[in-house]
Amino acid sequence: MLDISKIRKQFPILSRKVNGQDLVYFDNGATTQKPQAVIDSESNYYQNENSNVHRGVHFLSGLATDKFEETRNTIQAFIGAKHSHEIIFTKGTTDSINLVANGFRTLFKKGDEIIITELEHHSNIVPWQMCCEQSEATLKVIPLLDNGELDMNEFNNLLSESTKLVAVSHISNALGTINDIEEIIEKSHKIGAKVLIDGAQAASHVSINMQELNADFYCFSSHKMFGPTGVGVLYGKEEILNELSPYQGGGEMIKEVSFSGTTYAELPHKFEAGTPNIAGVIAFKSAIDFITNLGVETIAKYEDELLQYVTSEILKIEGVKIYGTAKNKSAILSFNIEGLHPYDIGMIVDKMGIAIRTGHHCAQPIMEKFNIPGTARISLAIYNTKEEIDLCINAIKKAKLMLS
């Protein structure tokens, strides 16, 4: 039996007040809160283990390196990757996508096509626009259906021998749609295109296995899965990562440096120039352990229960329109109330201690499709409760009353 009050106790921030009210944190799509174990792990590193990794011969350097690599191995197991060197540490999902897009700039050419979708976060749009600018490849976009699902017929039409890469999010941050990435990967591979999955919203909410999924790249961020900010992961298949040129030059990523030429280190170090966020990477392991101990399936089941509840409750408010009603949806609820601006709603519920996100959620093309300035978004996590949803719904009703 899942004991949510016990889980909540692991998150110190959840007991704080905001504007004199108990905090209700419903902005988990932006970043999740951190359990004590993660906070302790980060602090313990600086108190007892701080040293640079992969460099020194001394005791502390060895210790820091071991713990750093332990996280890599933990992630390898967590996402079912074949090799630990297929796990590249980055600053976050955005950094991971940029690393890949940068690597393909020299490999793509005029006439090649990259396919993205209308529901991508800007960080899975702009790097590909930049990649196209330099490589002269063309960007194609899979449109959205009105319910927030991808138009898979249109995807089939867009796929061709010119398609070199398909970049798509696993879960939409603005609409909650869980995309059918299995089908996208299978079809793309059939015509020889590579596939990158932006898993920022997915990694702690649905179970993922790289060898079963067969994605070529999968990107996610620690901070959206209870870990520290400034740490992300790029998973990439060994043979493809070997083909890509390094993203940044510097220490750690080299084999030999001379002025007649430099040779690069093996994976994963080839893509990890400079001193990484060691404390963050080490503490990230505690976050993965937190997820693994609960079980991703358990988390997903509970979050879905919350999503069903919040959806049915919010629809009782007159004038509410939900954006994103896909059959397969994660615990993200985007909505507007007729005649009200989402910012006004967000500002007023904030006064009642409730943290929701308002705006375009860094996904302006979606807002354009629905012809709205933005939405209010509730995004849930394992530590949220139905009681909190009740508080939020009441706050929204109060906001509506004040604004009408």
């Binding site: 009200l340 910012y343 006004d344 904030d350 006064k351 300035p373 004040m402």
Partner: protein, 138 residues
């Protein structure tokens, strides 16, 4: 016509009567609703104030040595905020506006009452109004 200082003083006195944020917000909402409409032809891309999280249009006209501001927003709270600024600055001389010290904002707790992004919008609104004043002053 009252001076900028006098109007600020009145606003500070008005806000002192409110006990909590709800009353302050309701007052802002009312101000937003009462704001005289802007001529639709001025709701252009060029007149959008950058830095606001909602869309805020601001138009300024220079007549008889005074600047008349009109504005609109798709969010009512932003409209209320811009309405307060218009109450303070509209109808004043460019030189007065350009050098005005708007200390009422801190005194009525507007900045702390408003979320950081909204406060940024407030700063952008003031900046834009002062830019018009500088332009008309030259």
């Amino acid at each position: 016509m009252s001076t900028i200082q006098e109007i600020q003083k009145e606003i500070i006195e008005d806000f002192a009567m409110f006990d909590d944020w709800i009353q302050k917000y309701e007052y802002l909402i009312d101000l937003g609703k009462e704001l005289s409409p802007i001529d639709e032809k001025y709701k252009t891309e060029d007149n959008l104030i950058r830095g606001c999280q909602s869309r805020v249009w601001l138009h300024a006209e220079h007549t008889d040595g005074k600047i008349i501001y009109t504005a609109d927003s798709d969010a009512i709270m932003s409209k209320g905020i811009v309405a307060i600024l218009i109450n303070v600055l509209s109808g004043q001389a460019p030189s007065e506006i350009a050098t005005a010290k708007l200390d009422f904002i801190n005194k009525i707790g507007l900045k702390e009452q408003l979320s950081p992004t909204r406060a940024n919008g407030l700063v952008s609104m003031i900046k834009q109004m002062k830019l018009y004043a500088l332009a008309f002053n030259n």
